[in-house]
């Protein structure tokens, strides 16, 4: 018995020794392969069926749109599948001349038929319809020319066409297969799908005839590692070359290593508190201003390990049309907040105000609410937290059944107009400017007074970027003046990658734009 046990132990030691001889540390970098970490499971690789970041990482490599942004700028576009394009002065007709000889990954040539099919598909889909509200139809002029008609001028339409939703898909394939089928993942991008193991690696291979040149990296592996501890170890071991969004706790140690390059990006997403301004105590602008001045953003950021950008004055960001710094900042000032409360008829002793905030259930909410309660208690507001499941919270937000509500707004720059509508128009989903119309007038250059809805309508059809931007800035100023919300923080994210990688670009949505631009720079 003893001999058998010893033999067993020896066998285990032998196996471990053999494993050690063939360790994983020595993954050879050939310059032709890159392994990119994804912190979530990829679910669907159809540009019109997802908005999940992990999915988009892969979709960006497989599909192309008619237009694409030039180096992180969604308002300065260049042709991708369209070689040239033009728009009529009334802004109602776009003409696109397609690149000739562009092949889908199955070998079919991309033609006007595919473009019409793809754009029509976008316009009628749940995910794309909102951005395509101005779309009237597409006419096929010839094999390589299409005309797209709009019902009314929409200045953001070219940006919509440059978005991943508007990727051009293969008509024949999409009519034969359905979304979710492996065969349906067929684009014109620099990389084609080679293999996709359920929940495991997704392998892309470079296409030999990409219209912007053959990529130097021939094989892209997307590795799905949900547990960030495991991902950190995989990155340190060299099992992955690009590590997206490590834990804050690991960042300090990872940053100092010269083997890796760290890129910090403020996410185009702002956390804010919306305040009921139609009825109840927060209909009084003094209460709203008191809340805005009572919020200590530094403390808020500190409870998250300082990994928040607190320099926030609008529920918008610099990538969005209408961004301006020419607004009141509502800085942390407890005394001023108390004064506003006193003007509204409240104090910190016998006339305290009781308010409720609705928040979705999330890990980060507890700390946030603790800080909020602490801040507001000081100015005489007793805050009750109503924490609810995501869908229930949405219902409250949509029906505006709240006094205060925690909100998050993610920006998609190509949907600037739509975003501004959602935030500020009286019928917008996120409307935070539902204020009495007599408080919302502004003198426009032509001398007219207008409500926010009118300004937004004018901006919608204005093709001149500066004028349109001015309209949106005016809206932001008015809403800020009325203190309809309290912007709190922007989320930040960091990506790390092997320092030998060059030309790594992150677009405004914090996705790698295109891997085909990346090169390995290896020494001799």
């Amino acid at each position: 018995m003893k001999k058998k046990l010893i033999a067993l132990l020896l066998a285990v030691v032998l196996v471990c020794t053999l494993a050690a001889c063939d360790g994983t540390s020595g993954r050879e970098i050939t310059g032709e392969e890159i392994v990119i970490h994804l912190n979530n499971t990829v679910q669907v690789l159809d540009p019109l069926s997802t908005s999940a970041v992990a999915d988009l990482f892969v979709i960006y490599q497989i599909f192309d749109s008619l237009l694409e942004p030039t180096d992180e700028d969604y308002y300065n576009l260049r042709g991708s599948l369209a070689e040239t394009w033009s728009v009529t002065p009334d802004g109602l007709t776009y003409t696109f001349n397609l690149r000739q000889g562009v092949l889908f990954h199955n070998g079919d040539e991309m033609t006007s038929e595919d473009v019409k099919f793809s754009i029509d598909r976008c316009a009628t889909s749940a995910l794309g319809a909102a951005a395509y509200s101005a779309y009237a139809g597409t006419e096929i002029v010839d094999k390589y020319t299409v005309k797209i008609y709009l019902k009314y001028a929409d200045a953001s339409f070219p940006s919509v066409l440059a978005s991943y939703n508007s990727s051009i898909v293969n008509k024949k394939i999409m009519e034969t297969y359905k979304v979710g089928d492996r065969e349906a993942i067929c684009g014109t991008g620099a990389y084609k799908l080679s293999s996709w193991e359920e929940g495991g690696d997704i392998v892309l291979e470079a296409t030999e005839s990409y219209h912007f040149g053959v990529p130097s990296i021939k094989r892209v592996i997307f590795r799905q590692i949900v547990d960030l501890n495991a991902a950190t170890i995989a990155f340190e071991n060299g099992e992955i070359d690009m590590f997206n969004f490590p834990q804050v706790a690991d960042l300090a140690e990872l940053r100092v290593n010269e083997k890796w390059t760290a890129v910090d990006i403020t996410k185009p997403m702002v956390n804010y508190i919306a305040m009921q301004n139609q009825h109840g105590p927060t209909a009084d602008i003094n209460v709203r201003k008191a809340i805005a001045h009572a919020l200590d953003r530094t403390m808020l950021s500190a409870v998250y390990g300082g990994y928040y950008d607190t320099d926030v004055t609008l529920i918008s960001d610099p990538t969005m049309e209408g961004w301006t710094t020419d607004v009141e900042k509502y800085a942390f000032n407890v005394e001023l907040a108390k004064q506003y409360m006193a003007t509204a008829g409240y104090n910190t002793t016998d006339k305290r105000l009781a308010l409720t905030i609705v928040v979705p259930v999330a890990d980060t909410m507890e700390a946030l609410c603790t800080v909020l309660q602490s801040n507001l208690r000081e100015i005489g507001i007793d805050l009750t937290v109503n924490s609810m499941e995501g869908a229930a919270w949405h219902e409250k937000v949509v029906s505006r059944e709240y006094e205060l509500a925690f909100m998050q707004m993610s920006y998609l720059p190509w949907l600037s107009t739509l975003m501004n509508f959602m935030m500020y128009r009286s019928d917008g989903y996120y409307n935070v400017s539902d204020l009495p119309s007599n408080t919302l007038t502004v003198a426009l250059p032509d001398g007219t007074a207008a409500t926010i809805d009118d300004i937004l309508n004018w901006a919608f059809g204005t093709y001149d970027y500066n004028t349109r931007n001015w309209f949106y800035q005016e809206v932001n100023k008015i809403v800020n003046q009325q203190c309809a919300y309290v912007p709190m923080t922007y989320d930040k994210q960091t990506s790390l990658y092997d320092a030998r990688l060059e030309n790594v670009h992150f677009d405004v949505s914090n996705l790698i734009s295109k891997v085909y631009r990346i090169d390995w720079v290896l020494g001799d």
Binding site: T24, A126, N229, A231, I233
Partner: protein, 329 residues
């Protein structure tokens, strides 16, 4: 025995129906909005409503449930709201990984835990017994997420013997996750085996065997452990069932795309087809495993086998008596 088995197999059907109804009801009662989840917070309400309509999410509860049942009977478990793939394909891709993880983990756990339990029981009140017991208590007290992380830090980060996750590296990919489960379960098997064996070791028939002059080996393995096996088999069966959906932590830590992660994600996303199909798969496996455990009972213990047979005999006698009564009437 055969009749008993057929009866048990048939019982699986109503059990699964009850489970499916309960799960469907719970999913229905929890607030959810798959359209909103899929399209994100930025999508318009019209788009969300349109997608919910496309997914059939707006139909009344019983319409949805019976549609699900009708499709399931025909082998169509529907498509995931998110991946748009048939959920049966996703389960087919993920189940083998969970089965592999479960099989090898329990193989090692039983292979280590049971002998340790026997050794501990046989050497009761000795240093070996104390060492085994303390080790077992220590190992079963370790949280699995911590153990997984420690294994990763030592064997993947420091020694770099094994990859940090995934299943792309052949057998090496499985070593750490299997060890992570096996260590905690071995401790549990050790404790159950020890307790069961100590119960039987004091029985009269064991004393009789010893007095007959049987060797200690025959006494322990031929008489005492034979009866203690029932406990081990029960625990093994329960653990197989549990591990089908209970490997979430290990799957998450070691990036194993198995069934546990799928269930968790499906429930979180309110992906009804995926949640229903995966939970029913787990339930089915659990029921089948428990059936196998019952069969093993009969194989291990002739008394139980005779009970099964006598139950059938009694039933048969009852029926023949009833028939005789009817014919007499």
């Amino acid at each position: 025995m055969v009749r008993y088995l057929i009866r048990r197999l048939l019982l699986i059907i109503p059990t699964l129906l009850i489970i499916s109804f309960l799960v469907f009801l719970l999913m229905y009662l929890t607030p959810s909005n798959p359209g909103r989840t899929i399209l994100g917070v930025g999508a318009s309400q019209e788009s969300v409503d349109q997608l919910n309509e496309e997914l059939g999410f707006n139909d009344p509860f019983f319409v949805r449930y019976f549609n699900f049942l009708w499709d399931a009977v025909r082998g169509d478990f529907g498509e995931s709201y998110f991946t748009r793939k048939p959920v049966i394909d996703t389960i087919a891709a993920r189940l083998p990984k969970t089965l592999t993880l479960t099989f090898f983990s329990l193989l090692i756990a039983v292979g280590v835990g049971v002998p340790m339990g026997i050794l501990s029981a046989v050497k009761q009140h000795t240093a070996i017994d104390s060492a085994c017991s303390v080790t077992a208590i220590l190992l079963s007290a370790l949280p699995q997420f911590w153990l997984g992380l420690m294994l990763l830090l030592v064997f993947s980060r420091q020694l770099q013997w094994f990859p940090s996750g995934g299943v792309n590296d052949g057998w090496r990919s499985w070593v750490l996750p299997v060890l992570c489960i096996a260590i905690t379960y071995a401790a549990s098997f050790m404790r159950y085996t020890r307790t069961a064996l100590l119960d039987t070791i004091g029985e009269d028939y064991v004393r009789t065997a010893r007095s007959k002059g049987c060797s200690e080996r025959t006494v322990i393995f031929g008489h005492a452990f034979r009866n203690a096996q029932l406990t081990v088999v029960t625990v093994l069966g329960m653990n197989v069932g549990y591990l089908m959906g209970g490997t979430i932590i290990v799957e998450n830590t070691f990036t194993i795309p198995g069934l546990g992660m799928m269930v968790l994600t499906a429930i979180r996303n309110k992906d009804v087809p995926e949640a229903m199909c995966s939970i029913l798969t787990i339930a089915l496996i659990f029921l089948v495993v428990m059936l196998i455990v019952d069969i093993l009972y009969a194989i291990i213990d002739p008394r139980i086998r005779s009970l099964y047979d006598s139950a059938v005999r009694k039933r048969r006698n009852k029926l023949s008596k009833k028939e005789a009564k009817d014919s007499a009437a």
